[in-house]
């Protein structure tokens, strides 16, 4: 019996780190699902707990605001898929497709946790606090975009490992091995950075497809 208690104690202390609570859902608009590591899907609701290996998936005109421990708050845009891929203490989360706004707590950055958002094209290593990542738009499915509203973000291509530091007010694109030079992107002025539903509309009016503009609307003559 004593041994059984010991086993339970050990399991309680060390046996379930992968299943640890790593965050929670704060706000849901529209169709949002949490998919666990076994592939089970359920509608996301406020206060729902997120665990390592979980994914969040949004539908058309839907969004979800969620927190990752006390490290960051995120807003996942419509038609997006986000995954907590590693123990969150390592600071790595993954945007499989779509768009993600991030508000990262400064203190945690200083304490040595290097929070990073990974896409299939690039990794955004956070040194700043507020930034936007988009990957996998319909018109340019392999392009990733990172725009910084506050602070700095280091963006590296997964193909070439080239790195670019993106400062506040600037953005870059990642296409294959190439990370563009940081530039002030006109379309990012319309991004809705708000993550607090009590402070107004959460829906982001800009999609990466719209950012490329309608070529029928380009006038040069």
């Amino acid at each position: 019996m004593k041994n059984l208690y010991s086993v339970i104690l050990v399991l309680a202390l060390f046996g379930t780190p992968a299943m640890a609570n790593v965050g929670k859902v704060v706000h849901v608009n529209g169709e949002v699902f949490r998919v666990d590591r076994a592939g089970n899907s359920q509608a996301a609701k406020p206060k729902m707990i997120l665990e390592t290996g979980d994914s969040l998936k949004t539908g058309n005109k839907s969004l979800v605001v969620f927190s990752i421990k006390d490290l960051a708050t995120h807003k996942l845009g419509e038609n997006s898929l986000f995954k907590v891929t590693a123990p969150v203490e390592k600071g790595l989360v993954e945007l499989i497709t779509g768009s993600l706004f991030s508000l990262v707590v400064k203190k945690k950055q200083k304490s040595g946790v290097h929070y990073r958002i990974k896409t299939r094209a690039a990794v955004a290593g956070v040194r700043g606090t507020q930034f936007f990542v988009s990957y996998g738009g319909k018109s340019r499915p392999s392009d990733a975009w990172v725009c910084v509203n506050e602070g700095e973000v280091e963006v590296s291509s997964l193909v070439s490992k080239s790195k670019v530091l993106v400062k506040e007010g600037f953005g870059v694109s990642v296409k294959g091995a190439a990370v563009s030079a940081p530039a002030q992107l006109p379309w990012t002025r319309k991004l809705n950075w708000n993550m607090d539903s009590s402070k107004g509309e959460l829906q982001n009016p800009v999609s990466i497809d719209e950012a490329y503009g309608d070529l029928l609307d380009v006038d040069y003559d």
Partner: protein, 246 residues
């Protein structure tokens, strides 16, 4: 604005020393232009300045103002006013004390009013077709002209701003109430526009133009019943800058 001024200051240098034949014909001309297109989802204001070498060492230049409205994703219409000098009209072939001569330098400012409709469609993800039909009425000689232009533009889209593009374009001028010629001008263009970090575009184009001249009123009075028809052709190299409203 400094760049625009620089363009027009440099124009005389560009045009200096270029050979013309004894009849004032030119086989190559150069052009500079600057244009501003305002931003806006439906209504746009467009202002353009242009200067081009013309016949007999004259410089044709114009200021054009347009108001353009987007009716739908595929259709736009607009109105325009253009003030131009040194434009060669068919009726400028006039009798002078020295005989019949081109007299476009005596026109002063010629006002042109017009309206147009445009249709656009994407042929592929990056290739756009545009057709434009434009009616123009010139206060000088009360000439009315219909212009038809078709354009193919290939874009390299980017979310970082307006895209680099190349285009080919064909334009014809149809005189409605003057000349017996069905088409009296034809232009074929090949051009490229590329964005600069400042948000402006630089552009370069090469055009082949043909003008057809027939009997003027002055000629008909002097030589009733006689007919003539001559044409001029020239290659035109154009450098332009385009400013887009933010």
């Amino acid at each position: 604005m400094t760049r625009i001024l620089l363009f027009f200051l440099l124009l005389p240098v560009i045009t200096m020393g270029r050979a013309t034949d004894p009849n004032g014909k030119k086989h190559s001309m150069q052009e500079v232009s600057a244009k501003y297109i305002s931003s806006g989802s439906d209504w746009k204001v467009i202002a353009g300045l242009q200067a081009r070498e013309s016949f007999a060492d004259r410089v044709y230049s114009h200021l054009q103002l347009e108001l353009r409205d987007k009716l739908s994703r595929h259709f736009q219409w607009g109105v325009l006013y253009r003030a131009q000098i040194n434009n060669r009209n068919n009726e400028n072939w006039q009798l002078t004390p020295a005989g019949h001569r081109w007299t476009e330098n005596n026109n002063g400012i010629e006002s042109v009013w017009g309206g147009y409709g445009m249709a656009r469609a994407m042929l592929t993800e990056q290739l756009r077709f545009e057709a434009k039909i434009q009616y123009e009425w010139s206060t000088l000689f009360s000439q009315q002209t219909l212009r038809y232009r078709s354009n193919l533009t290939h874009f390299w889209p980017t979310a970082q701003g307006p895209p680099t593009h190349v285009y080919i374009q064909h334009e014809i001028f149809i005189p409605l109430n003057y000349q017996h010629q069905q088409i009296n001008q034809r232009w074929v263009y090949l051009g490229v526009n590329w964005p600069m970090p400042s948000g402006a575009f630089w552009g370069l184009s090469l055009a082949f133009a043909e003008w057809v001249w027939t009997e003027s009123e002055s000629f008909e009075k002097s030589f009733p019943g006689d007919q003539y028809k001559i044409s001029d052709q020239a290659f035109i190299l154009s450098l332009h800058v385009l400013f887009l409203g933010s």
